[in-house]
């Protein structure tokens, strides 16, 4: 699916909620659909630094598309990473690298975007893009 369509879908879904509690409950719900990282990749090397909770992220290249999987020991963080993966997974590296994260603001989770927040959203995005960059280089070679 086109990355723009996915972003619009998410913005639509979150716009149904009036208050923060419903938004968080939905985010927690989304966390349950997270493609869970294979246990063999759930290593210390794959832990994203800068998060108060543990987040493991892995990416494979399938048909020139980057497919992400992750996990976290905190349920809200799991929701955040699930939202990111829904947007970025199954896209080609170029698209991932060009996509901005304005949608986070538009779904009402702007507070998580500050680089000083302990949830490490910024670090997660950085890691997602690092994988895309690595696979882009690999495809180009």
């Amino acid at each position: 699916m086109n990355i723009k369509t996915i972003k619009d879908e998410l913005i639509d879904e979150f716009s149904m909620f009036d208050d923060w509690m419903e938004r968080y409950e939905y985010m927690i719900e989304l966390g349950k659909s997270l493609p869970i990282i294979d246990s063999k990749f759930k290593t210390d090397d794959n832990i994203i630094k800068g998060c108060q909770s543990k987040v493991w992220l892995h990416a494979d290249l399938e048909n020139d598309k980057v497919v992400y999987s992750a996990d976290s020991d905190a349920i809200i963080t799991k929701g955040i990473v699930a939202i990111l993966i829904r947007v970025f997974s199954n896209q080609n590296p170029d698209t991932i690298l060009k996509t901005n994260t304005d949608f986070i603001d538009e779904i009402g989770l702007k507070e998580h975007l500050s680089p000083t927040r302990a949830n490490g959203l910024v670090s997660m995005i950085k890691q997602i893009k690092m994988y895309a960059l690595a696979y882009q280089t690999q495809i180009g070679l």
């Binding site: 108060q52 349920i75 302990a118």
Partner: protein, 412 residues
């Protein structure tokens, strides 16, 4: 809701009026500030002192002949006397202004580098904040001295039998916090100081977590070094103090070179200034020092006995209410602790709890509390920590507990 702050020696509502920040809202809810062990809030009386300094007599201290400089110098030195009196130091020059506890500890650690060799041992307790571990590790790297750890019991108290055994190694120095920041444990420092001195060791007590709750008497304790920060006791950030016995201050070399700390300077040789200026290089945090003094005056105005009694009441009330939450685990000792509760709710990550209750206007701390070794001991990745101050109320605790229940329901 129970807001009967009975048996208290003061009126908490009147006290709350002194703290402007307590009437703000966070995420549309009245702020409930339970992160006091990280930093305490500032009363209007202290804010006024800061405004007065910058509005009326801001200038550089010492050596200035003009009126503003003399006024600022007087107030700064008066603050030093206030601190001296508060801690019952024998001399005002035994109080060194620093930027805070971490700076104070580094000053002492740096000084000891010239006294230690590879044959020496220093002891540090397992209950320490990172700021009281890392400087000693750096010191040991530099001097090749060995660092030994006084272990903790499963209750979260120090193992005193192990301490006795470690003292047989004849350590040069012992470092322990008065009260643990992660668990609130009150360490038996009187006994530890006496025992350290019996084997000829010097002892430094980190009082950052103790000073908001109790009034230490450094002469009665016979402690060599006692350190604390202003911002934990209603003062501003960026200022703190080192108390050291005069004899130690003569022995220790200066920490930093610069203005203020010198007597005579030629390119061949510099003579250092007398105490306390030898350790106060450069323009200090003048306003901060004066405000630190004002904060101590403010707290003494309420009275430490009244503070301790009221905070203990809050602690007992909160502990009982929290224990009623399903899956609650509280870490640390049951007695001999200050108003800090470090906890987890089974099946829920501390970070998630902190995030949800922040939405309800409640500020607590989550994570490792700069005390990773303690977290490793309890085999947890972190805890949630609520810490209470004399301006908190039982009603706030009720709201906090309701918030936790709500969070647990959402998160399980």
């Amino acid at each position: 809701m129970n807001d009967q702050n009975s048996n208290t020696l003061f009126d908490v509502e009147t006290i709350r009026n002194d703290f402007p920040i307590l009437s703000r809202t966070v995420n549309g809810k009245p702020l409930i500030y339970l992160d006091n062990a990280a930093t305490s809030q500032t009363p209007q009386q202290v804010i006024d002192v800061i405004v007065d300094y910058y509005s009326n007599y801001n200038s550089n201290i010492h050596r200035g002949v003009h009126t503003l400089s003399q006024e600022a110098t007087d107030k700064y030195e008066n603050a030093r006397h206030t601190i001296q009196k508060h801690f019952n130091a024998a001399h005002a020059h035994e109080i060194i202004f620093t930027s805070g506890t971490t700076h104070s500890i580094n000053l002492v650690a740096n000084g000891f580098a010239s006294f230690l060799t590879e044959n020496d041992t220093i002891l540090v307790s397992a209950l320490e904040h990172h700021s009281n571990i890392v400087p000693w590790q750096m010191l040991c790297e530099k001097t090749k001295a060995s660092l030994k750890v006084i272990p903790m019991t499963s209750e979260g108290s120090l193992d005193m039998n192990a301490y006795d055994e470690l003292l047989l190694l004849n350590p040069k120095l012992v470092f322990v916090n008065h009260i643990s920041n992660a668990l609130g444990t009150i360490n038996p420092i009187e006994e530890m100081i006496e025992k350290a001195h019996k084997v000829g060791a010097a002892i430094l007590i980190d009082g950052a977590q103790a000073c908001p709750h109790i009034k230490p008497d450094v002469q009665a304790l016979d402690v060599d070094f006692y350190v604390t920060s202003g911002h934990k006791m209603c003062g501003p950030t960026g200022v703190g103090m080192l108390y050291a016995k005069e004899s130690w201050l003569h022995k220790l070399p200066p920490y930093q070179g610069g203005g203020e700390m010198i007597s005579e300077v030629t390119f061949e040789k510099t003579t250092y200034a007398g105490l306390p200026h030898k350790f106060e290089a450069g323009t200090p945090n003048i306003c901060g020092g004066i405000a630190f003094g004002a904060a101590i005056d403010y707290m003494n105005g309420i009275g430490f006995e009244a503070i301790a009694t009221y905070e203990h009441e809050l602690l007992e009330y909160a502990t009982e209410k929290l224990n009623a939450i399903e899956g609650m685990r509280i870490y640390g000792p049951k007695t001999d602790k200050t108003s800090v509760i470090s906890f987890n709710i089974e099946g829920v990550h501390a970070y998630d709890i902190g995030t949800i209750i922040d939405k309800l206007g409640i500020a607590i701390r989550t994570g490792q509390h700069c005390a990773q070794p303690i977290m490793d001991y309890f085999e947890v990745s972190g805890t949630a920590r609520a810490s209470f101050c004399f301006y908190n109320t039982k009603k706030e605790i009720d709201t906090f507990v309701e918030g936790l229940k709500k969070a647990a329901m959402m998160l399980r």
